[in-house]
């Protein structure tokens, strides 16, 4: 409550069973041909808890496993191991039947790709109507349904006459808003939103973020908000978790985490946020140092602290700053698994180099 004007209305979340609890989640995908033994490790031992009425942002490297995590929780992907508890119940142990409709009324997902996630054969109306049906509000008079549908469109800043449109007639940002409206209409307990606002202009985006906050405040909906936009994570989320190479490396109260990033990868992320005031400040040398610290750290800030032993073998979580912020960082000595999911930093030279690669020069020969 200390830092923020907005979080004062936040419901008390500490005492109840968490809305979502993920324990030791792991997922590997086979790659190559059908009978190939190669695999990609997308998630490894992820523990994450979202309290009731809490919004947690998940940020991190492209390809680090964020969508995979959400897809596992939404039961679109079967984890290799781990537990997923919604409302204290392990959903992986529930049978298929129970999983379907009841599950969808409990949990909704907004997909990352607005161009692939709306069936092109249906009008917008159809998607929203189905959501209302899941919520049990599909019945009622035609007029009432129409009013609800129009209300939903207005909430996400779309004109009601677009209900008759097909997805291909909408712009990228308009589709994203339909996808958001579709999830909201269900009024689930948990929403997993995978980059829901990446194609919205700032002014519309703020409107959508405010709407998400309002739903949390008024209905206690819990959210996992996956984003690359650190400023919006800070604006919306109570806590932010940082993912790198299939594992969480840091988590904490959002303002505290972004003001005092403790893991080198978080520091790297924060340093790379575009800022016109320091245009052209991309510094390859500093970048190479941080990269080195991420990939092959040789020291940890907590080394020698008798209360927080370091470990290169186990992913120890060190507590950072005020315990109330529940801010932890994974011990720096623990190294990201070299073969993890072929992440972007892995392939890079640790030496500073010109941003334009020589490969491209050769390719132009």
């Amino acid at each position: 409550m200390s830092h923020s004007v907005l979080s004062s209305s936040r419901p008390d979340i500490s005492t109840k069973i968490p809305a979502l609890e993920i324990r030791g989640l792991a997922k590997s995908f086979p790659t190559g041909g059908l009978f190939s033994r190669e695999s990609v490790r997308a998630l490894h031992g992820v523990d994450l808890t979202i309290g009731r009425g809490e919004i947690v942002a998940l940020v991190g490297e492209s390809g680090s496993g964020k969508s995979t995590l959400a897809r596992c929780v939404a039961r679109l992907e079967r984890p290799s191991s781990g537990e997923i508890l919604i409302d204290g119940v392990d959903v992986l142990k529930r049978d298929r039947f129970q999983a379907s409709r009841a599950f969808r009324s409990q949990l909704q997902m907004v997909f990352q790709d607005p161009f692939g996630s709306l069936n092109p054969a249906h009008r917008i109306e159809h998607f929203l109507q189905r959501s209302l049906a899941i919520h049990g509000k599909g019945g009622g008079s035609g007029e009432e349904t129409q009013r609800r549908l129009e209300g939903l469109m207005t909430t996400v800043g779309l004109q009601a006459d677009m209900l008759n449109s097909y997805p291909h007639e909408l712009s990228g940002g308009q589709r994203q808003r339909v996808a958001i409206a579709r999830a909201l209409a269900v009024e689930p307990q948990v929403i997993l939103a995978d980059e829901p606002t990446s194609m919205l202009d700032v002014s519309v985006r703020i409107g959508v973020l405010n709407l998400m906050r309002k739903l949390r405040d008024e209905q206690g909906i819990s959210m996992l908000y996956i984003t690359h936009d650190l400023a919006s994570a800070r604006y919306l989320a109570d806590r932010t978790a940082v993912m790198f190479a299939g594992e969480l490396v840091e988590e904490g109260e959002s303002l505290d985490l972004l003001a005092n990033p403790a893991h080198p990868y978080t520091q790297l992320l924060v340093s790379a946020v575009p800022d016109p005031a320091r245009a052209g400040s991309y510094d390859p040398v500093r970048r190479a140092e941080l990269r080195q610290a991420v990939m092959a750290s040789t020291k940890c800030e907590f080394e020698g602290d008798p209360n927080q032993a370091c470990s290169a073998e186990a992913p120890v979580r060190h507590l950072v700053g005020d315990p109330e912020d529940r801010h932890w960082v994974r011990c720096h000595l623990y190294q990201p698994w070299a073969a993890a999911a072929g992440h972007a930093l892995a392939g890079e030279p640790t030496q500073p180099s010109r941003p334009a690669s020589n490969a491209q020069e050769e390719a132009s020969a």
Binding site: D161, D201, I206, G347, P355
Partner: protein
Amino acid sequence: MTISQVSFGSHEPVLDVKDLTVKYIGDTRSTTAVDRVSFSIGTGEVFGLAGESGCGKSTIANSIMRLLKDPAKIAGGSISFGGKDVLAMSPEELRRFRWQDVAMVFQSAMNSLNPVLTIGEQIVDIFTTHAGYPRRESLRRAGELLELVRIDPARLKSYPHQLSGGMRQRAVIAMAVALKPSLLILDEPTTALDVVVQQEIMAQIKELQRELGFSVLFITHDMSLMVELSHRMAVMYGGRIVETAKAQDVYATPRHPYTQALMGAFPPLTGPRVPLTGLPDGVKFRDIPDLSEAAPGHFVAPVGPDASAVDTALLEGAAR
């Protein structure tokens, strides 16, 4: 000075769009998605296009590529590329134009790869079909391109669904620069990239661009990124351009109320959390007039006396 004469780099624009008007004609709903839009891009210039969601940015990009499909009609205006009339090109000319002269990263990039071919097959195909390289050579170049966008070349064997959203976007960026077109159109190319990868890839595109001298039309909602990378930019609202100038000038002194709202509405990365509002309800600009020069090289659509009295007060609330 007219708008189309202002451009960075050479005086001969690579792309010249004049009074472009595009309509979508439907049974239920007809939209004028682009309304008398003019701009030009010089050789080696990065031109940014920003604006509210649904204001017509992708429609402009598709018009330049001649990819508009049926209910869409170009109702007026002209597009010329290197002095050639794009709207009059034959199918034969268009084929060449599309990959070699102009390449585009679509906003739907994540969803635009062929799902039944591996990434490698798709990149190799560009080289063999359009550049005539032998297979082995094409494969080598394909691997290099993936490295350029920070993807392990081992992923040449992956199918699109085996890549993350951001990896697919990066693969498409790699394909667009493969043939070194003289104009690169990027429609929201980095929505699924973390800021580190985004910064590195954009720095690389910029470096390549300096080296090879191609021009870029850059569409994004990320105003910080746009200002950092573009020489000049334009802001659109409701199918019209409401402001255009050097990117730094738009950032430092936004003049149109919509631009002011855009520049002022992003949440900060430091300080306390302060509630922000987007454009307040009821703020709509209609019948946007033609641009006039407010300062040298800085063109703005005048806001009527009524509008400015009511709206700017509201918008100041929006911006902070």
